[in-house]
């Protein structure tokens, strides 16, 4: 009896290393297939050849690629990460398109020199991005919580970028002699930008994801 685990390991080496469970499953399939051919009274040589045809070079590579893709897509990446990044990419694409169309944010000036460029049109379009994240998450088997997080993911990225900029500015103040860090200005500015770009963005995105959730719930109930 051929050692099917060894054959799969030799013929599909990448899959065997990256996804041993898949390799074991395929070895079991080949073993059953081979025995099926023997039961159908094929000679051992022909049975072996027919069985090996299932993982000949092109088919084997194609199988490895597709199974690894499925493996990578499992878990967080497929339910939150990928949908969230795609929602973020869509949000950035919209911002870029609005910029090309010369639709500028409305700048709000506050006391103490603080200002906030408020991208009203972009915020109005963001629910579509939130819905996109939720749709992809749902398609990838995401739970309701996953779908909401995926929808709001662009806001998480914006939050992170703002916090990063804040601390980068603070760090630079230690390095640059002619640059002073003013906590009294920096903290309110951060709070303002977080409200404008973080919280409002999150609300707009979650609104889109929530509307989609309701629509899908109704469509499931009517089926």
């Amino acid at each position: 009896m051929p050692d099917w685990k060894l054959i799969v390991h030799k013929r599909l080496p990448i899959l065997s290393v990256a996804s041993p469970e898949s390799a074991e499953e395929l070895a079991g399939h080949l073993e059953d297939r081979y025995e099926g051919y023997l039961r159908a009274e094929l000679s051992a040589d022909i049975a072996l050849q027919h069985t090996l045809d299932e993982i000949e070079l092109t088919r084997g590579n194609w199988l490895t690629l597709r199974l690894l893709k499925e493996d990578i897509m499992k878990g967080f990446t497929r339910r939150i990460g990928l949908p969230g990044v795609l929602a973020f990419a869509a949000a950035m694409a919209i911002a870029w398109a609005l910029d090309l169309a010369h639709i500028q944010p409305k700048t709000i000036f506050l006391a103490n020199g603080l200002f906030l460029p408020l991208p009203i049109v972009w915020l109005c379009l963001l629910p579509f991005c939130g819905a996109l994240g939720a749709i992809i998450s749902r398609r990838n088997g995401g739970t309701r919580l996953d779908r909401m997080i995926a929808g709001a993911f662009p806001a998480v990225i914006l939050f992170s970028v703002l916090v990063l900029i804040f601390f980068a500015g603070w760090a630079i103040s230690f390095l640059a002699a002619d640059y002073s860090w003013n906590w009294a200005m920096a903290v309110p500015a951060l709070a303002l930008w977080m409200a404008g770009y973080g919280i409002m963005t999150a609300i707009a995105l979650l609104a889109g994801a929530a509307v989609l959730e309701q629509a899908q719930k109704r469509s499931m109930q009517s089926m």
Binding site: E21, S22, E24, E25, L26, G28, H29, L30, E31, D32, R33, G36, E54, I55, R59, W62, L63, R66, L67, K69, E70, D71, M73, K74, R78, R139, N140, G141, M220, M223
Partner: protein, 112 residues
């Protein structure tokens, strides 16, 4: 036309696998074997099309896969249809029934 053909092929394969799993949990080789036997050899699955589809079902939570040890001591990964998968099967069956009825009426085939 090629894309319609691919969609039909993919859709029919999904329907075939989900229908079998709705009856009983099976492992990959059994699925391929039963489809081949029950379709009189017309439908055949090779590993390159079957396993990515099963993994895709698992990713969408339509099936749950668990390792089982058979009577002969071999380990096989057994696929079981989940309630979500069962929910997906009903509209899929309805779509295919409508498709075949429409096709029968269009072509006059009685056995389509």
């Amino acid at each position: 036309m090629a894309s319609i053909g691919a969609q039909i092929k993919r859709g029919s394969a999904e329907l075939a696998v989900l229908t079998l799993l709705a009856r009983t949990p099976l492992h990959g080789y059994e699925i391929a074997k039963q489809i081949e036997e029950q379709s009189g050899g017309v439908l055949r699955f090779d590993m390159a099309s079957l396993y990515p589809m099963l993994y895709g079902f698992e990713r969408r939570s339509w099936v749950k896969a668990e390792w089982e040890t058979l009577a002969n001591g071999r380990r096989r990964r057994c696929y079981r249809l989940t309630p979500l998968g069962r929910k997906q099967l009903a509209p899929l069956r309805a779509q295919w029934r409508d498709f075949f009825r429409a096709f029968q009426s269009l072509t006059g085939f009685q056995d389509a």
